[in-house]
């Protein structure tokens, strides 16, 4: 029998027992809907997590540290490298070198120090960090009240929410931490902060060392080039923004309570802890950085960039490994969600078997007639397959639509809840096209598999018996 005839007869048969076949098809739809709903939740959550990571700036960032820093990550991983004392210093020269590596977008030093800030003549001790201009697109600053820095050298500051509370003398009550950032920002924006800091300045040339320094082997000239002064300074800063970010969250450069533009922070030459460590060896008065953040063009190039930097003699760290385990986690999650989703489809497939076996009993005589007038076993089998397949395809389409609708409703409901909790809405539900196609195909294949037994049974029916049957 040709395909159009097969489809025609199958649809006609399905129409004949409309109620029963519709119920069976609805069963398949519910199965497909549950599968689609489960998987789109998994995929949506994965995309949400990846998006967050991507925007956090950590996904495409390599943190470079000197091997001289014995507290660093990954020290044990590099047993073959030069001994820490013989390793290179992470300074402006090497930063520029790293920035010239292929696929590197930017390399900026992590400037971070603890210092005192005065607001309305009251001192506050806190951590200050410098942010590159590119941090503007970082999602940590999505909820910023006010604005980002007007330029990379502007004497401006963005405050973290908790620090803003501290400045205003508001202590967050435990369990009620939903302080509105906008409320905090209103009285602070445009106000001035005074930052006191220790500046590292090139030392005045002092050719003569102390007279009692008699160590002959030591060249004083070498040492003097490394000398510098520490001068106490003040810098006035304009408060331009209050950011709604959690200082405890692992967000690299954003792990501080007050932020300054990077170039401004560099120009201030604030004393860094590494300055003390390197004082015994420094070959110049140039500052050494504790770490440099390297942004690459896309996360796929992280590994190559890391290797290149390691070859230069530095330690590196990226959260590539963290994302890999994240991917593993989501693969397992999707697998479980898929299995649970498929359970409903498995139940639905039993419904197909039941419906078709019932149809054989009902249409026993009809099958006998068809065989008597010349239908082959194959024709009968194909007819039942076509009926199962048609139910599968229709069920698949309806199921995908239903799954999508369920997703939309849950997404909407959750976002209403999130909004009530003053949290930004999220799109954690995703039905990609491949899922639509795969779900329909899966429903079709499952239905055909379910039709296997009934179709075989119908094909084997003895026409003499079937025609005798009333």
């Amino acid at each position: 029998m040709k395909l159009p005839d097969l489809a025609d007869l199958a649809l006609r048969n399905l129409r004949e027992s409309l109620l029963r076949n519709s119920l069976t098809t609805i069963g398949i739809s519910v199965g497909v809907a549950s599968l689609v709903a489960m998987l789109s939740l998994g995929i949506g959550l994965q995309q949400l997590a990846s998006r967050r990571l991507m925007k956090s700036g950590l996904f495409d960032t390599v943190v470079v540290t000197s091997r001289r820093d014995l507290r660093n990550f990954g020290r044990e991983e590099e047993p073959n490298g030069p001994a820490p004392a013989e390793s290179r210093i992470l300074d402006e020269h090497t930063r520029a070198e790293i920035e010239h590596l292929p696929n590197v977008l930017e390399a900026y030093p992590d400037i971070r120090f603890i210092t005192e800030l005065r607001y309305e003549d009251k001192p506050h001790l806190t951590t200050v960090a410098a942010l590159p201009a590119s941090a503007k697109s970082n999602d940590a600053f999505e909820g910023v009240q006010g604005r980002f820095f007007s330029s990379d050298t502007a004497p401006e500051a963005i405050l973290q929410k908790a620090f803003a509370e501290e400045l205003l003398g508001k202590t967050p009550k435990p369990g009620l931490d939903e302080t509105n950032v906008a409320e905090l920002a209103a009285p602070l924006l445009g106000k001035q902060l005074t930052m006191r800091y220790a500046q590292r300045a090139a030392a005045q040339s002092s050719p003569s060392s102390t007279p009692h320094d008699s160590a002959p082997a030591l060249s004083n000239e070498d040492l003097s080039s490394a000398a510098y002064s520490v001068i106490s300074r003040e810098q006035r800063l304009n408060i331009v923004g209050v950011a709604d970010l959690d200082p405890e969250s692992m967000r690299g450069p954003t792990r501080a309570r007050v932020f300054l533009p990077l170039k401004l922070a560099e120009s201030l030459h604030v004393m860094q802890p590494t300055d003390l460590r390197e004082i015994s060896r420094a070959a110049s008065d140039q500052p050494a950085y504790s770490s440099v953040s390297v942004r690459v063009k896309n996360p796929g190039q992280i590994r190559a960039t890391e290797d290149a930097i390691k070859k230069m003699g530095f330690n590196t760290f990226s959260i590539l490994d963290a994302t890999r385990s994240l991917q593993q986690f989501f693969a397992v999650l999707d697998l479980f969600l898929g299995i649970f989703g498929s359970l409903a489809l498995a139940v639905a497939s039993i419904g197909i078997v039941n419906t078709l076996v019932m149809a054989i009993l009902e249409r026993r005589r009809e099958i006998g007639i068809m065989k008597a007038i010349g239908a082959s076993d194959g024709d009968v089998k194909k007819l039942f397959f076509a009926e199962a397949g048609a139910m599968g395809i229709v069920g698949g389409f309806v199921g995908v639509a239903l799954g999508w609708a369920i997703g939309q409703v849950i997404n909407l409901g959750t976002n209403i809840y999130l909004r009530r909790q003053s949290l930004p809405p999220e799109h954690f539900w995703s039905v990609p096209w491949w899922l639509v196609g795969t779900a329909i195909l899966f429903a079709f294949i499952v239905s055909l598999a379910a039709g296997l037994y009934p179709a075989g049974r119908a094909a084997r029916l003895d026409p003499v018996q079937a025609l005798r049957y009333e």
């Binding site: 029998m1 040709k2 159009p4 005839d5 007869l9 006609r12 048969n13 004949e16 005589r365 009809e366 006998g368 007639i369 068809m370 065989k371 008597a372 007038i373 010349g374 239908a375 082959s376 076993d377 194959g378 024709d379 003895d462 026409p463 003499v464 025609l467």
Partner: protein, 282 residues
Amino acid sequence: MGIADKTSPDGAPAADALAAMHTPAANASGPHAPAPHAPAIRAEQLCRHYRMGDTLIRAIDGVTLEVRGGEFVALLGSSGSGKSSVLNLIAGLDRPTSGSVLVQNRDLAQLSREELARYRLHTVGMVFQSFNLIASMTLAENVELPMRFAEIERGKRDSLVREALARVGLQGRMNHRPSELSGGEQQRAALARALINRPHLLLADEPTGNLDSRTGTEIMNIVREFNQQLGMTVVMVTHERALAERYAERLIFLADGKLVGDQSNSLMADAGTGHSSPDGRL
């Protein structure tokens, strides 16, 4: 209103059209087309035994018979005599336990299931006592069904269906479902369906069993028309001896699965007139 009454005023043109419709198939079948009076069906030592629990039922027990091409044969016997079982074996719906059935020199016992299906599709047309039309289909769809299995082009089917239904006087009932028709009309539709793939063999299992005598006569006239004008070999199972004597050229008697008589119908003097009454049940 019977087909014979309808066609008798212009019987000749209708018969011509029917013959024209039938001839190409006969030509197309080539070597399988039986020469008149050559054996179309030959059964030798045919046995069909069933096992029902511990008892062996010998539905057919060593039947040997021969039917020539173009012959109209009636298989007579009481209920349980094995006449329907013989018909099912000739139709290729069943397989013999032993012995052989040769139709146009092909041994049906040697054919695969697929080949048997093709044989039923192209060589045999069947009509049954209970008509066996598919209730969910219109008459036109019922008649079209064998052509779907034969994979005949859609464009050609419509006219063939109209033609076949017109032959049996049902051109006005094409889109009716079987349940909307009388028994006689249903059997006429079944005859149209049996004719549609232009088979050489018409097998009729008690074709008038569910019909009143007048309608039965109409149906039998059509069967005779198929036999005489289209040259179809007809094997009809019946338990009505009078009916058999009125239409069949030869009467074969079965009892308890055995052939008990095979005779030419000497009473067929008024064959073709359709005036004698189908009385006298066996």
